[in-house]
């Protein structure tokens, strides 16, 4: 770059000189554009949105979402598993390993790694607080017992996995883990498995 193209200011600061170059056009253009955009945005915002629009937007989204979900469930109705399904799967090795995986990940922190009971109740004995039939257990997992700190897992875990966990729990009936939590609730004899056991 030829220095003669740039006019130097006559003054120097500790030997540092300064050119008197004009402002780059593109820089000014973007600066002005950002200011114009801001004015337009404020105008648009003031006219098009009501106060509390975060709330309004969220509620609108929820309504739209509900319609989409309704359509989805119309096409794919939810079918809860039957007692027979749940019991049959309690001897299916593939299902049980899937159930065991989910149990370890989600349930063990409160019910203990061997379902012996910890924060939550013992799941291997024959006493139940919310019903001991497999469909009842399924229901309890789906809806949770929020008052006692058990979340409604139906909102988070796919139905097949909940069914697999219930089958897994059924398969643990009568096992003898270390340090079992004393039984709570009414005594319910487990429903018989298809092939005995």
């Amino acid at each position: 770059m030829d220095e003669n193209e740039n006019k130097l200011l006559e003054h120097a600061a500790d030997g540092i000189q300064e050119y008197d170059n004009p402002l780059p056009g593109w820089l000014l253009a973007i600066l002005y554009a950002s200011i114009v955009f801001s004015v337009v945005y404020v105008g648009f915002y003031a006219l098009a949105f009501a106060p509390d629009s975060y709330d309004a937007e969220l509620r609108q989204e929820e309504i739209a979402d509900r319609a989409v979900l309704q359509a989805y469930f119309n096409a794919n109705p939810l079918v809860p598993p039957s007692t027979e399904n749940l019991l049959a799967e309690a001897v299916d090795v593939d299902v049980l390993s899937k159930g065991a995986g989910r149990f370890a990940k989600t349930c063990a922190s409160c019910h203990g790694e061997a379902a012996q009971g910890l924060i939550g109740p013992n799941l291997v004995d024959n006493q139940w607080l919310h019903g001991g039939k497999v469909t009842q257990i399924f229901n309890t997992v789906v809806k949770g017992v929020p008052a006692k700190g058990m979340p409604p897992w139906g909102r988070a875990i796919p139905p097949e996995e909940i069914a697999a966990v219930v089958s897994y729990i059924r398969s643990l009936q009568g096992s003898h883990p270390d340090n079992p939590k004393p039984g709570e609730g009414e005594v319910v004899e487990p429903e018989p498995m298809p092939q005995g056991r």
């Binding site: 929020p146 909102r155 988070a156």
Partner: protein, 768 residues
């Protein structure tokens, strides 16, 4: 006209002291940085209670900002201002008190943070008593700088000095504005503001700490050292004027972009976003002036590590001041906020801009101040390349981690479930990126070690007598009232006055302003004040900005103590308390957070990063025992958790003695505790803690927790977000509505606020 020359002896010793401290603290800040990069995802490395991520992360940020960058600012300012004004520093005594005071402050601050004395507000964590020390030392700095300006031999103030003045004025305003507190002990206090107001003030401060501690002083340094090192004239004086004033005026408005989609009123958020966008070009003005100054010097860049560091430093300034406005756009921020993207952005600025500028200046100035050539230019070049690779690894890993996690948070299944309902799933996915970040940071630190060695050897080779202050000859300050050449009338007549006005204006109006230091400083203060007042005043005078909620009550004494433990352990460094009004957040956490819920939160604890999940609706979500086990050993409740263990909470007694002082402090701030509340505080704590302990024992937990800190912390956590009643959003169909059996009595039908974990996404395994 007299051209008599006077002898000026620069105080180079103080510059050597501050530059030396800069090098030392840079190494410390980066060592702590790499350490916490490991502590973040390797929980077993945390050594509770003192050396945990939550306590060391503030140590890292404070060391990097105030120790490393702070010392460099003082060093560069003191070194350059004497030469720009052709005078010795105003006071050697003030300089020395300033130096030693600042170093002691840093050491005291480090101890305070490690021992858990924190104000709980990012980059403003230091205890109130140290805040006073900071203010005092800052005044000394100001006296020294303005005193030097007053005894200058150059009428004209060079652009670097404009930036130093802006720094001094704005940091003083920000520091005082955000540090108003009511103390309850020598080290601890509660901030005057609460909730939304505290958040606004904090990010007004936090964002402008970036502006006026990490940007304007560094631009000032750039304007001195870059043209010096390149031996080229500055590209454009006009651009200096434009970007200086626009930067100073616009920056201060941008703070609320840290609070998009929170309980902050939307008008403030909008202002924050728009001024951030406008800020783009004012910021780039500095980059353009820096890079274009190197025109004609690119040959030297190939040879000179100093210029290499300048080029990448200034380029990274441009990069991060583009990224900043982009992240300030609400819809972009909706994705980036609370993720590692923010961390990546910050480090683009601090590593890319601040550190590279620091290295450039150090490699240039140390040989000059110690009168010896740099020990090894090639080692400096190696440092440059290692640091650049480390920086890129850091940034890219954080981009990938941030965007990955944001996408996982918001992913839904077709049946309305969150794809990743367990928060921990979104955490463990990032671990490979945390390794890459650790590698990048380690490379950067390796480069720092090379610099340490290189500069140490350079200083060691200083010749005898290097301590002598540099002497120069400079003419005395020309008289302000220049006389008309060849005049016959007295200098105080209108003729002369008219002549002076013509002369002044012929060089542009800004040239006049640069000579009137008081006017200049007042204008800077006004420029900073406008944005501050427009955003803060309505927040404090217009109650509609924070709609009160009748059911929101002050914390109980035990909850107050628990909250102080939450602050002490630095939980806010990884957990937010702000559910944003997004479907994926209300599904995951529960009803979004309302402004009125935080009116008793001194300080607010909304956080800025979710390494763990949001906690605002955690109250009632888990049984007490879950929390006990989680604090004692996080993976026991959350397999894969990267949270450090806090076993001391189960063994240490919570503090009882200072509860009266705490409640009185809150009363001073207007929290409506009655006389009975204060008088009965101890009894109330005991009752509440015993009740919690009994419930834990009933759940088969440890039996002796009634006096332990964990009981107080649980009291606080179980209170969080429960002051309002809310229900999960209804689904059109779910297993819960079509499930088979009716026979089981379900406790889940309760509509009370006790309906915890209502979103269902809640997972004990998500409590990381």
């Amino acid at each position: 006209m007299t051209t008599e020359l006077e002898t000026v002896r620069y105080d180079d010793k103080i510059a050597r002291m501050f530059f030396g401290a800069t090098i030392a603290w840079a190494a410390v800040a980066m060592i702590v940085g790499v350490t916490i990069a490991a502590l973040l995802f390797l929980p077993n490395l945390n050594l509770a209670p003192y050396l945990t991520f939550g306590r060391l992360r503030p140590l890292h940020t404070n060391a990097a900002i105030f120790a490393f960058c702070g010392n460099l600012i003082f060093a560069g300012t003191y070194h350059s201002i004497q030469r720009l004004l052709k005078t010795r520093l105003y006071s050697d005594v003030i300089s020395r008190v300033h130096f030693w005071g600042w170093q002691l402050l840093i050491v005291a601050g480090a101890f305070a943070l490690v021992f858990g004395h924190t104000q709980g507000k990012e980059y403003a964590e230091l205890p109130w008593i140290l805040d006073i020390v900071i203010a005092f030392l800052w005044v000394l700095f100001a006296v020294n700088v303005f005193g030097t300006i007053a005894i200058r031999r150059e009428r004209h103030l060079y652009v670097a000095i404009w930036f130093y003045i802006a720094t001094i004025v704005a940091v003083a305003i920000l520091h005082i504005g955000n540090s108003i507190v009511v103390p309850y002990s020598w080290l601890d206090s509660y901030p005057a503001y609460s909730g939304v107001k505290d958040a606004l003030m904090q990010w007004w401060y936090g964002h402008n700490a970036v502006a006026f501690f990490l940007t304007t002083p560094f631009l000032g340094l750039m304007y001195y050292y870059l043209p010096k090192a390149a031996d080229r004239p500055v590209f454009s004086y006009k651009l200096s004027i434009l970007h200086f004033w626009s930067l100073v005026f616009v920056y201060i408005w941008a703070g609320p972009h840290h609070l998009h989609y929170t309980a902050l009123p939307e008008w403030a958020s909008t202002l924050g976003m728009l001024f951030s966008l406008i800020l783009w070009m004012p910021s780039w003005g500095g980059m353009v002036n820096g890079l274009f100054t190197l025109r004609g010097a690119w040959e030297k860049v190939r040879e000179e590590p100093v210029l290499k560091f300048f080029v990448v430093g200034v380029t990274y300034y441009g990069m991060s001041t583009f990224e900043g406005p982009m992240l300030a756009i609400k819809s972009v921020n909706a994705v980036s906020h609370y993720t590692d993207w923010t961390i990546g952005h910050v480090h683009a600025g601090t590593l890319g801009w601040n550190s590279f500028m620091a290295f450039a200046i150090l490699y240039w100035v140390v040989p000059r101040l110690w009168h010896t050539p740099l020990f090894s230019k090639s080692l400096a070049t190696v440092h440059f390349w290692i640091a650049t690779v480390g920086l890129i690894l850091y940034q890219v890993s954080m981009w990938v981690a941030g965007i990955t996690q944001a996408m996982m948070w918001r992913a839904f299944e077709p049946d309305g479930r969150l794809t990743y309902p367990d928060f921990i799933e979104t955490v463990v996915t990032l671990v490979p990126m945390y390794w890459v970040r650790l590698l990048g940071g380690s490379l950067f630190l390796t480069g720092m070690c090379l610099a340490l060695y290189n500069l140490h050897r350079t200083i060691g080779a200083a010749p005898k007598g290097y301590e002598a202050d540099e002497e120069v000859q400079a003419p005395a300050l020309e008289s302000k009232s220049a006389t008309v050449p060849g005049a016959t009338t007295a200098p105080n007549t209108y003729d002369h006055a008219l002549y002076r006005v013509q002369q002044a204006i012929s060089h542009g109006i800004h040239r006049v302003l640069e000579r009137h230091i008081v006017v200049f400083t007042v204008l800077v203060a006004l420029a900073v004040a406008v944005g501050s007042l427009v955003e803060a005043v309505p927040m404090f005078v217009d109650d509609s900005n924070v709609k009160t909620i009748a059911s929101v009550k002050p914390y109980t004494p035990l909850e107050v103590v628990g909250r102080d433990i939450y602050l002490r352990e630095g939980c806010y460094n990884c957990h937010s308390q702000m559910v944003r009004p997004f479907r994926h957040e209300t599904e995951r956490y529960g009803e979004y957070s309302k402004a009125g819920e935080f009116v008793y939160d001194h300080p607010f604890q909304w956080g800025s990063k979710r390494t763990g999940p949001d906690l605002h609706r955690v109250g009632g979500k888990y049984p007490h025992l879950w929390h006990v086990r989680h604090m004692d050993d996080p993976p026991s409740t959350t397999p894969g958790s990267i949270m450090p263990a806090f076993p001391h909470l189960l063994t240490d007694d919570y503090s009882v003695d200072d509860i009266t002082a705490k409640l009185e402090a809150f009363r001073t701030l207007g929290v409506p505790y009655g006389d009975n509340d204060v008088a009965g505080a101890e009894a109330s704590m005991k009752t509440q803690a015993e009740q919690i302990a009994v419930e834990i024992a009933l759940q088969r937990g440890p039996k002796d927790l009634a006096s332990k800190e964990v009981a107080a912390l649980i009291a606080y956590l179980q209170r969080l977000g429960t002051d309002i009643q809310w229900r999960p959003v209804e689904r059109p169909a779910s297993l819960a509505t079509v499930a088979p059996a009716k026979e089981a009595a379900q406790a889940g039908d309760e509509a009370s606020k006790k309906e915890d974990a209502p979103t269902g996404a809640a997972n004990p395994a998500g409590g990381e």
